[in-house]
Point group: C2
Chain length 703, copies 2
């Protein structure tokens, strides 16, 4: 996988992200407690909270116990890309190291038909050459506070699910607002353990972020879609940004030192990053729903989008460029979902899950105080049936412009309410991020929007049926293609200033707008709100049920449980180690020189073509420099760009992928063959110096 969260996230912005957001409303909005179904006593399982690390467990296995300072320094050195990825501070003067594929969204937005930074790479020779990113927001986690009691206080037992949901949301928004007012830090209440715990996360935000260096896509994504999720690998999947404050490089106190000699076989390593979503807490019934309905539907939609983008790209090289970022993301997700689905289609997985549920039920039944908790599994079973029934009822389309229009229309009404009664994305504490998204000058291409809107109108008709009043209203008697052409020809939303103007005009402005896309969203709004209310009520019911599941698991399994991933900072650990595949040993490391052999063994055919810069530098390169390596740390989409650090807390690598065996990680962890894949920091430094004439950057790193 490209373990980029971009296409698995519900915080994203692009059409593809919306695709998945809309597809998996419930799952994306739930964070869940890990299952104890897969015994993992000695395995390196877990995406641990920074305020609840399994220090004893690590010490027992690896004879190393992280100190408080060690943990705090790593937390403050870690960076979250709000667009869906991880990173770290790597110098005192603001350098941030992440993956090329995490940066791709920005590279793509900065590129034009003439300057294709995504394909051809970029190097700023001086600070003045560094290019401001269009709409990036980087987050540095500052503190974590448990607010469970206060959130739960707001919800009274007699409340109906919809009412309970609103009360809970209001309490969370209130806590966030108070924190923002008090600290001026971004303040998010995070739902953990599927509703078992609520923690307040405070972040320092960086919004002046500049591009410093990126290699060519040919090197970052060497082997392309074919090698994606495979190992051995030879990818320089890294990019450097720099954060600025007050127009100057930010002064960073906590950054990582470099250790190019680290990450040797069997070394203990840590991964600090933001895994996006796992669903290990799911009950067997909920997994079966995903297997038989949820994932197959998502995959149909991904395939559909993939074909649509491929077809769009056939029109010419410029169209290929325009569609590539989305296409890449969709292909990556499709491959990841294929692996996930394959994992839960294995009958033995469900069987083992059912068996451990039986064991758990027996333990609960033995204790009269715990016995009632078993009801939660039944509730969840019933909820899956409701989910299946409401599967086709979405009232939204997935294109970039439609997304803008939808936000503008909803915002106009939401802003009339007090902040803590609004739909969550419109609360005051999230306003700055929302405005950055809506008002940034990002490129939006009319022909791409037309192709996607045509396909989306067609899908909408297929989903709801051709007689559906909402569909008929959307089409206005025209075919999806003519209607899409008409809308795209007449909407003003391509322009950031037009979007800003509409946002400023308030509810009257929206009501009176003649923009056809605004009008389309207006016609969908009542149904959209209805669907969302129903979905959120189901989510709330499920949240309450999983809170009970959590309670049961805490009661039986002790406190050695970590919550499912929630795109918040987590620590994973493991050892650098190869594995066996089809009876052959796969070593843990590859070397820089191996990239040339890999190219030759594929006859240098696309996508196995190294860039010219590599061939030019071949004779100067230290060919035996470690390049990529694998370890057993437990990661998932969103961990892309996470620093890999040694027990000394120094950087030894940067996560960029997981092997194909790791794709079941959404549902369960195993260390038999599943591995996280990283670029070795020695390879990064050597490439900067010997291939990219960027020794000055290598010199800054770690200092």
């Amino acid at each position: 996988m490209k373990i980029n969260l971009r296409h698995l996230s519900n915080s994203g912005k692009s059409a593809s992200r919306q695709l998945l957001k809309a597809t998996l409303p419930a799952v994306c909005s739930l964070s869940m407690l890990t299952s104890v179904a897969i015994p993992a006593a000695q395995a390196d399982e877990g995406m641990w909270l920074f305020n609840a690390l399994p220090k004893k467990q690590i010490a027992q296995k690896y004879k190393f116990e992280p100190t408080e300072d060690w943990v705090n320094h790593l937390m403050l050195s870690s960076v979250r890309f709000n667009s869906g990825g991880s990173a770290s501070f790597v110098s005192s003067n603001g350098l941030v190291l992440t993956n090329h594929h995490v940066a791709a969204d920005t590279l793509f937005k900065l590129s034009t038909a003439e300057n294709n930074y995504n394909e051809n790479g970029f190097l700023a020779k001086t600070l003045a050459d560094e290019i401001p990113a269009t709409d990036l927001e980087l987050n540095q986690l500052i503190s974590i506070e448990d607010v469970t009691a206060r959130v739960n206080e707001a919800v009274k037992p007699q409340m109906a699910p919809a009412e309970a949901f609103k009360a809970r949301q209001a309490a969370m928004a209130q806590i966030e607002k108070e924190s923002l007012d008090k600290t001026s830090l971004r303040s998010d209440v995070v739902t953990l353990y599927g509703g078992g715990r609520y923690h307040l996360y405070r972040y320092k935000k960086y919004t002046d972020v500049r591009l410093v260096w990126a290699p060519e896509a040919q090197s970052a994504f060497f082997g392309g879609d074919a090698d994606n999720f495979e190992y051995p690998r030879y990818c320089l999947d890294v990019t450097l940004f720099r954060v600025y404050e007050d127009g100057k490089p930010a002064k960073i106190d906590n950054f990582l030192k470099m250790d190019p000699t680290g990450a040797q076989t069997d070394d203990l390593v840590f991964v600090s990053g933001n895994p996006g979503r796992t669903r290990r807490i799911l009950t067997a019934d909920a997994v079966e729903y995903q297997r038989d309905s949820g994932l197959p539907r998502t995959m149909n939609q991904l395939r559909r989008r993939e074909i649509t983008l491929q077809q769009y790209g056939l029109a010419g090289p410029e169209q290929t460029r325009r569609g590539r970022d989305d296409l890449f993301g969709v292909q990556n997700s499709r491959k990841a979902y294929t692996g996930m689905l394959a994992g839960i289609q294995d009958p033995s997985f469900i069987e083992s899950k059912r068996n451990s549920e039986k064991e758990l039920f027996a333990k609960l039944a033995a204790d009269p105080k715990l016995a009632p908790l078993a009801q939660a599994w039944e509730t969840i079973r019933e909820i899956q049936i409701k989910r299946k029934e409401s599967l086709l009822k979405s009232a939204s389309l997935r294109t970039q412009l439609y997304g803008f229009a939808e936000k503008l229309v909803l915002m106009a009404s939401e802003d009339k309410k007090p902040s803590n009664e609004r739909l969550r994305e419109f609360r005051d504490s999230a306003r700055q991020s929302l405005e950055q998204e809506l008002f940034s000058e990002v490129p939006v291409y009319d022909d791409l929007e037309r192709a996607l809107l045509t396909d989306e109108l067609s899908r909408f008709m297929e989903d709801r049926g051709g007689k559906d009043p909402l569909v008929l209203a959307a089409l206005q008697g025209k075919s999806p293609r003519s209607r899409a052409s008409e809308i795209i020809a007449n909407t003003k939303l391509f322009s950031a200033s037009a979007r800003k103007e509409l946002a400023t005009a308030g509810l009257d402005g929206i009501k009176n707008s003649q923009d056809p896309l605004i009008a389309l969203v207006r016609s969908m709004e009542p149904e959209y709100r209805k669907v969302r209310e129903v979905t959120e009520a189901i989510d709330e019911q499920e949240r309450q049920a999983y809170a009970k599941v959590t309670e049961a698991k805490f009661a039986v399994g002790g406190d050695s449980v970590y919550p499912d991933a929630t795109f918040t900072l987590r620590l994973s650990y493991g050892s650098v180690s190869g594995y066996e595949s089809n009876g052959k040993a796969v070593p843990a490391h590859t070397k820089l020189g191996g990239a040339f052999d890999h190219e030759a063994s594929h006859l240098a055919k696309d996508p196995w073509v190294l860039p010219k810069s590599w061939h030019a530098a071949k004779d100067n390169l230290q060919a035996d420099t470690p390049f990529n390596f694998v370890c057993t740390a437990d990661i998932i989409g969103g961990n892309s760009g996470s620093p890999v650090v040694s027990r000394e807390g120094a950087m030894v690598g940067i996560i960029f992928d997981g092997n194909i065996e790791s794709l079941t990680g959404d549902f369960y962890y195993t260390d038999k063959q599943s591995r996280a894949v990283a670029v070795h920091i020695a390879g990064v430094l050597e490439a900067l110096r010997s291939i990219y004439q960027a020794g000055h950057l290598a010199d800054q790193m770690g200092k």
Copy 2:
């Protein structure tokens, strides 16, 4: 479109063909009367029966009335590729001209990793160099006889649908058997007008068919998937075969003369070929079913297969080669279906269909004898609901090997019954074609079969749910991937002789077979038979209803109605004429020299790369030779390779595509922008002489 029937046919053999066969059980097995919804008084609409040509209509518009000899000569000069396409005899010594993409199936089967005829082309310098095709069967239509009365006699009014279906099938098989015994000709009873008429078609079969010449795929499919269904075009989409009898080139009495000066703008032209399937008779309710359920489901399956084949091809150039034929077919179908669905998603189409139904109902109501016929529309409406309910219930997998296994298992039981009680494909009169399919030494690739079987097992689980007993039995506790690997590693069905051995071993042989694929089919057989019986009963009900619809339309519309396409020989006509697209005039013709301009305007990037042979010949070519042209004739998939003839009956071109506007042709004809696309015969002859050093073949043509 590539208007090759291969991927739209129910007579096909490959996995992709099976894909569509299984997807559209009802629609494929029904032939239907054209709708009178779209008024086409002066338009060149219609795929006319050779024994019921609209001679007066043609004479009125074009001042030309075909004589009986003219018609008979054209019928006997026309050739059907049983693998799914059309062609014609073009010399007295057995030359047959068809499309490269019709020949692709054969070119692919004759190719190896070393000799890739499909990509690189082929030329036999002498008769001795001509290569026997693996499993081709060519049909020459000899006679047509109306057997409606005899077929209908067998069906008694009191019979239940399943019983009626069996009685009808038995009568048809009996007629075919008697004809075969009497004439030794292939004898097919064809269902026309959705069950309104039954005609007996007798064919002379040619099974010794040899490859003579094919151009490179780069030239035949110049512009690739991007240009497919577009116009202007520059494709040499032709291939020459030769039929043999007794080891010598067959002596052909009826073949087409060449007219390289023909097909000028506004000329009347005729197209004689085998359109595969249209559904113009469908009632508005039936179209709505296709719009909301049938086509969307088919498209999901096509996209799925397309992605699976793309992923398979990523493994290397040899995998790309192995998967290309299927991938091409699936992409072609997906693009065609996209156009079809777009056509019926236009609300104005359904509206006009409903309006003309209302008019028809009014006329029926006015005549007490006709009034009861209106009930047929209600029956059809009810049948659509049944179809929707039974949509996911298939009990078959779509891979080449599974197809072999399924035929072998069914055949063993079927052969115990009298011929006319068997499932239709196992009747005696079809045995020779079936055996050619089963026992030919066609290449089957284990890695491709494994990839497809994995995906099919996964789909099967998605369709029926993971708890379905049939799914559990198929997987035997393993994941789709492990189970597919196990089956492919152990089945013997890759070998034609093993298949023959199993076929010879009869029912006991099948029952005792340890072959895992045979065992898998055995476990599916009862459910497969059940599903098929239910589907065929629904089909029979629909057939009886459409027979009434036909009766109603004949009563109201007179005899100027043609039946929907049935992959049997039809005559279409029209004029050579350009059209308007996006406000610009598209001329009817392109010229050979234009191919080089087309290449240059796309920077000679794939797929716009002309082969070396073209560049080498560029200076010798007559650049202004007509190359491709369009006409208004009414065609559809299956017409690929159809000769285009002048009023003198001479060949002026060969159909190879339809433009994007023609894709609605499945449901309705319009001549506003919709056009059939042909290679001009002048271009073919010039290319043979000046590019391919095949003047000796050009000299034989027409003589």
